[in-house]
C-alpha cells in the first residue's frame, strides 16, 4: 500500500541503491532519481569520503536507510554503539523508515557478516518481534523487515516462511520490505509456490519492495545481485504490485555494477506496473 504508517505516509516511487561506482556520475550529472537507498553500515563512520559524499547526496535527494547487521533474529541485545550511530544517521538522513533483514548473523559477540536464515517457530518469532520493537522504539522511525533469500531449511521449523513472517510483523507491529527476488530465489531452493507466498503476506504492512537479479546454478539459485531481474521475477513483481498496490520499489544491483544509466533504465521498468495500478490494492 502506498503512503501507509510503515513508510511514514510517503509515496517515493522508484529508487536505486547508492553505490561507489556511481558516485562521480551522480555528483556531477545530478540525474533525476526518486530516491536512493543507502546501506547504513557504509556510513556509520566518523568522517572522510563516505560522509562527504552522503552530505552532498542529501542536499539533492531523498535517502532511505537499509541495514545488514541489526540481525533481528539474533537473540542478543543490539550493540549500543551501533544503535547510537544508527540513530544519529537516521536524524541526519531524515529517512522515512529503516529496513533490515529477518535473519541472524552474530552469536556470542562474533559476526559472520552474512544474513543467515532462521528456524520458523513461534519462539523464534517472538524473540525477533521483541528485538524489532526495542529497536523501533529506540530509533524513533518505522522499521520494516525484509524477507531473506535462503539456501537451508531447519529441522526445527514448524511453519512456513510466510507464516513466520506474518507472526513476526504482527507481534512487532512493523512493516514489511517485500523482496520479490528473494521470494523467487527461496522458492527455487525450497520448492514452494512464490505466488502463494505473496498472496499470504499481510499486504497492508508492505512499505517497500526490492527487485534484483540472481544466479542460477545446476542445483541451486544464489541471490547475487549482479544482473538485471529475469522475466519471471518481473512477473512476480507485477503480481505483488497488483496485490499490494503502488509501493516504493528499489532495484538492487550490487556486483558487476554497470553504468548508472543502465541501472536506472532497469529500475524504471517497474514504472509500467506501478503506474498501472490504482492507489488502493485491488
Amino acid at each position: 500500500m502506498p503512503a501507509n504508517r510503515f513508510n511514514n505516509f510517503t509515496d517515493l516511487g522508484v529508487g536505486i541503491g547508492l553505490r561507489v561506482p556511481h558516485y562521480q556520475h551522480i555528483l556531477s550529472q545530478k540525474p533525476t532519481v526518486d530516491w536512493f537507498e543507502i546501506i547504513s553500515e557504509n556510513f556509520l563512520v566518523d568522517g572522510g569520503r563516505p560522509r562527504e559524499v552522503l552530505d552532498q547526496i542529501l542536499e539533492q535527494y531523498q535517502v532511505v536507510m537499509h541495514g545488514v547487521s541489526l540481525y533481528f533474529g539474533s537473540p542478543e541485545k543490539p550493540n549500543r554503539e551501533h544503535l547510537k550511530r544508527l540513530k544519529a544517521l537516521v536524524k541526519l538522513t531524515k529517512t522515512p523508515w529503516i529496513g533490515d533483514h529477518l535473519c541472524w548473523g552474530s552469536v556470542d559477540g562474533t559476526y559472520t557478516h552474512d544474513l543467515l536464515p532462521l528456524p520458523y517457530t513461534s519462539a523464534t518469532a517472538k524473540a525477533a518481534a521483541d528485538k524489532i520493537k526495542f529497536i523501533q522504539e529506540y530509533l524513533e522511525v518505522p522499521v520494516v523487515v525484509e524477507n531473506l533469500s535462503s539456501y537451508a531449511e531447519f529441522k526445527a521449523s514448524t511453519m512456513t516462511e510466510w507464516e513466520f513472517l506474518n507472526e513476526v510483523v504482527e507481534a512487532a507491529d512493523c512493516g514489511i520490505l517485500l523482496d520479490v527476488n528473494n521470494i523467487f530465489v527461496s522458492s527455487q531452493n525450497h520448492g514452494f509456490d512464490p505466488y502463494h507466498y505473496i498472496n499470504s503476506v499481510p499486504h497492508h504492512r508492505v512499505a517497500q519492495m526490492h527487485i534484483a537479479g540472481h544466479s542460477k546454478f545446476d542445483r541451486f539459485v544464489i541471490d547475487t545481485h549482479d544482473s538485471r531481474p529475469i522475466d519471471a521475477v518481473w512477473k512476480l513483481y507485477a503480481h505483488a504490485i497488483k496485490c499490494v498496490g503502488r509501493t516504493a520499489t528499489l532495484l538492487e544491483w550490487d556486483a558487476k555494477v554497470p553504468a548508472f544509466e543502465e541501472v536506472k533504465a532497469e529500475a524504471d521498468k517497474s514504472r509500467q506496473w506501478l503506474d498501472s495500478v490504482p492507489d488502493k490494492a485491488s
Binding site: 541503491g17 553505490r19 561507489v20 546501506i39 553500515e41 557504509n42 556509520l44 563512520v45 566518523d46 568522517g47 572522510g48 563516505p50 560522509r51 562527504e52 537499509h66 545488514v68 547487521s69 539474533s74 537473540p75 550493540n79 551501533h82 533483514h101 541472524w104 552469536v107 556470542d108 559477540g109 562474533t110 559476526y111 559472520t112 557478516h113 552474512d114 544474513l115 543467515l116 528456524p119 517457530t121 519462539a123 523464534t124 524473540a127 525484509e146 531473506l148 533469500s149 539456501y151 537451508a152 531449511e153 531447519f154 529441522k155 526445527a156 520448492g191 534484483a212 546454478f217 542445483r219 541451486f220 544464489i222 541471490d223 547475487t224 545481485h225 549482479d226 538492487e252 550490487d254 556486483a255
Partner: protein
C-alpha cells in the same frame, strides 16, 4: 544434560544453542578446494532438499563466510600479501581469522589486530616479520585515516591560547623500513568495503573460486623511515618526514601546544640552517595539509 539435537526451538536458549552450532559448523576452516569440513551436526540442524544434502546446504554458507572475510583481509592488506606471497599470506590470514573472528558489525574492523598477529606469527618467515608488521601497520593506518572524523580547522580567530591537536586523519610512524613504498604508484587507498545486502562472491563449488589477482612480488630494503599517513581532500596519502619534522609533530601530539613542543624540541642543528625560516615553512605546509587543528571543546 544439554540435548544434542536441534529438533525443537521452544525458547531463546534453544535458538541460541542452534545458532552457536550453525556458526561453529560454518566457521571451521575450509579444507582443500574450499570444501567444508564434515560435521555430524549438519544432519541434526538442516534438512536436505531434492538436490542438496544438509552438508551441501551448509557448505554454501561456510564458503560464503570464508570467502567474504578472506577477501576483506586480502583487500585491506594487499601490501602484506605482496611481501609474503599468496601461499604464506593465506596461511597466516586463516590462522588470524580463526583466532580473531570478527567482533564488529562492520568488516572495516576485521584487521585491527592483524599487524600485531603478524609480528608474533611463526608462519611468517623471521626475515620478513618486521617488514610484514610495519606494512600491515601502515595499511591499517590507511583504513583509519580514510574515514576518521575531520579535525576542527584553525581559523583567523583562533587565539594563541587555542589548544592545538593533530588531525584525527593523520598517523605518524617511525619505521625500520619504507613500508609505504609498496603502495607508491597505486591508486590512492580508500575503503572498498562497500557492504551490500545479500551480495555474494562466487560461492559455488562448481564454479572457479574467485581468488585475488597474484601481485608482483615486491622487496623492500631496510631504511629508517618517518612516515605520515594522512587524508587530504578525501584521499589518503603518504609523506615521508625528516626525523626533526617527525619529532616536532610527536611533541605537538603529546603536549597539544606548539609553544611547549618547540620548547622541548631538539632539532639537528647541523642539518637545519636558518631554523626559524625552516620551522615557519613546516607549519605553513602542515597547516595547508590540515594536520594542525583546534582542540574541540567537550
Amino acid at each position: 544434560m544439554q540435548s544434542k539435537t536441534f529438533d525443537k526451538i521452544d525458547s531463546v536458549a534453544d535458538l541460541k544453542r542452534l545458532q552457536r552450532a550453525f556458526a561453529d559448523v560454518i566457521r571451521r576452516p575450509l579444507q582443500l578446494d574450499d570444501a567444508m569440513a564434515a560435521d555430524r551436526r549438519s544432519d541434526a540442524i538442516v534438512v536436505p532438499n531434492e538436490t542438496l544434502s544438509p552438508h551441501q546446504r551448509l557448505e554454501l554458507y561456510a564458503q560464503q563466510y570464508w570467502w567474504r572475510i578472506r577477501d576483506s583481509l586480502y583487500e585491506d592488506f594487499s601490501g602484506v600479501r605482496n611481501i609474503l606471497g599468496d601461499t604464506c599470506f593465506i596461511k597466516v590470514a586463516n590462522a588470524y581469522l580463526v583466532k580473531y573472528p570478527s567482533r564488529s558489525f562492520t568488516l572495516r574492523n576485521l584487521g585491527d589486530r592483524f599487524p600485531r598477529f603478524l609480528r608474533g606469527s611463526r608462519d611468517v618467515p623471521s626475515s620478513l616479520r618486521q617488514l610484514a608488521f610495519e606494512t600491515a601497520t601502515v595499511e591499517w593506518d590507511k583504513i583509519e585515516v580514510f574515514d576518521a572524523v575531520s579535525g576542527q580547522p584553525l581559523t583567523a580567530t583562533s587565539s594563541a591560547r587555542t589548544k592545538i591537536v593533530l588531525s584525527p586523519a593523520l598517523r605518524l610512524r617511525s619505521l625500520r623500513y619504507p613500508a609505504h613504498s609498496v603502495f607508491v604508484g597505486q591508486k590512492s587507498a580508500g575503503s572498498d568495503h562497500e557492504q551490500t545486502s545479500n551480495m555474494l562472491a562466487n560461492n559455488n563449488a562448481d564454479v572457479t573460486v574467485s581468488k585475488p589477482k597474484r601481485l608482483k612480488r615486491f622487496s623492500v630494503r631496510k631504511r629508517s623511515t618517518y612516515l605520515a599517513t594522512h587524508r587530504y581532500r578525501g584521499q589518503v596519502y603518504f609523506k615521508e618526514l625528516t626525523k626533526d619534522e617527525f619529532n616536532l609533530l610527536r611533541l605537538i601530539e603529546k603536549s597539544n601546544s606548539i609553544t611547549t613542543a618547540l620548547r622541548k624540541w631538539r632539532p639537528s642543528k647541523a642539518k637545519i640552517s636558518n631554523l626559524e625560516v625552516t620551522v615557519a615553512a613546516m607549519f605553513q605546509e602542515w597547516g595547508s595539509l590540515g594536520w594542525l587543528c583546534a582542540k574541540r571543546s567537550s
